[in-house]
Subunit: 300 residues, 2 copies
């Protein structure tokens, strides 16, 4: 039986594991991947102490930091269910079962889908959810970014360096990303911003050829070879049955990162924390680990 | 009138300023110093992304990050009082008055004093509150660290490299710092740990010559030339009259870093946040800045 299991290894899970290691807890990290959304980010300029770093670079620094402690890490493994026992929690994954006295859920979020015809068919055939990963495939081509928040603007700013023309398909009246990012997007001659515009379907043959868009009930076609979906994220909380979530599926935590189940903590973007930021997720991971340590100290 | 004033430039204040700058807020930072307690720290191994960095180095990275944005910064200036106006807050300092729509208090903590005879007399004559700053002055000498938590152990670990002998004067039954730091301290032949021991006075002539200590009602003298006080911290909240504090003088905040006064936020070690850590303070600073930005957006 472990002192602690941490599910997820994004900024929250990694920070929790650094703190747990320094407290000499006997713990296990179970995760699908390393870095979470940070690994998918383009340029990061708001992680204090790094003026400018790419998502993959910051992920590498996080990973090295965690692995310095020679921790017990199960990568490419996914939590499927939790079972509450009298004095422990059983974590069931796609590969095994593990028992623990305390648990930190830091499983993050994944991209929301558009839910339009053609999306499944053209996934990885021109349609992608990760500009950082797939942007370079679209050198010199016309592409569309769907969304209007920071992730969409980050994707657009990565793509202006690669693509010929970048359309931002934004369902709202205005972009909602940070002012500094809006300015950068607005100042690029390669970018066309289509506000009040909805994507209704995707067409092509083997690969994407274009999208249908609708603006004020007027539908038209737009020829693009790449579609970058950035319409938000959904929390990876489905496995955590029995733990209170809010109307968005986010795990409810108090200021101490405690959930409704004693000994179960949560941190980062999977929670209802008010803002989703790398530096915030890291701080929350630290709080969760110190909370789990204190919980155990009180019990033993 | 400013959109925002940030009081303090430790990890919380600096992160708040990076976020405010990226939101293009019109803001002012008022601070006594840069880095807060981070500047006084020895080796930092738990700021995610930096496996190993000294306090002064991390402070330099923080400072460069903040100053990249060409912000309005008043250094060596201290907030003395707040006055609440109908739609703004007036911040009075030792050098001027500034009006703002929103405020973030990130003024941190300062070292607690021992409250024993000789403390005031020998301050900076062998007695210090900062091992990082003053440790090198005690090369080859016998020194005492007063305290048993992480700050005391951090000080002791810095001093083993410099001093001849390090006594840890710990009032409690056991050290309370992280296990990993306790192990390091225990494994040093230069360190003597005196648990259940209280310092009762400091003696010397022009400079410190030793301390009186008491263990189970038995008093004895210990010859040391350096005394490093690490017995905890008190929040710098005295200027913030009208803002709710807890029994320790810490500013009470909710999970959104809001205080009891609308438009006034607080972040970092000056607040009642459950743990005092650099990475946590940074995360809280981000939340406070985004909170101030949202507050203004709703009002305007």
């Amino acid at each position: 039986m472990y002192d602690l299991i941490i599910i997820g290894a994004g900024p929250a899970g990694i920070t929790a594991s650094v703190y747990a290691a320094r407290k000499r807890m006997n713990f296990l990290v179970i995760t699908k991947d390393i870095g979470g959304q940070t690994a998918w980010s383009g340029n990061i300029e708001n992680y204090t102490g790094y003026q400018f770093i790419s998502g993959p670079e910051l992920t590498a620094k996080f990973e090295e930091h965690m692995k310095k402690y020679n921790i017990d890490l199960k990568e490419n493994e996914q939590a499927l269910a939790l079972e509450r026992k009298e004095n422990s929690i059983l974590v069931k994954t796609d590969k095994g079962k593990y028992e623990t006295a305390t648990l930190i859920i830091a499983s993050g979020k994944t991209s929301k889908e558009l839910g339009v015809p053609g999306e499944k068919e053209f996934k990885n055939r021109g349609l992608t959810y990760c500009a950082t990963c797939d942007g370079p495939l679209f050198t010199g081509k016309d592409v569309a970014v769907v969304g209007g928040g920071n992730s969409a603007l980050d994707a657009a700013l990565q793509l202006v360096k690669i693509a010929r023309r970048v359309y931002i398909i934004n369902i709202a009246d205005n972009l909602t990303g940070d002012a500094i990012m809006q300015e950068k997007v607005n100042s690029s001659k390669k970018v066309s911003i289509l506000n009040n515009t909805r994507i209704t379907s995707i067409f092509g043959d083997k690969m994407v050829k274009g999208i249908k868009i609708e603006k004020k009930d007027k539908e038209e076609s737009l020829a693009v070879e790449g579609i970058f979906v950035e319409v938000g994220l959904k929390p990876n909380s489905a496995f955590a049955r029995g733990i209170d979530i809010n109307e968005n599926g986010e795990i409810k935590v108090n200021c101490r990162n405690e959930t409704n189940i004693p000994g179960v903590f949560a941190a980062g973007d999977v929670t209802d924390v008010v803002e989703k930021q790398i530096i915030i997720a890291a701080g929350e991971g630290s709080k969760a680990a110190l909370g789990a340590f204190r919980y155990l100290s009180r019990k033993r």
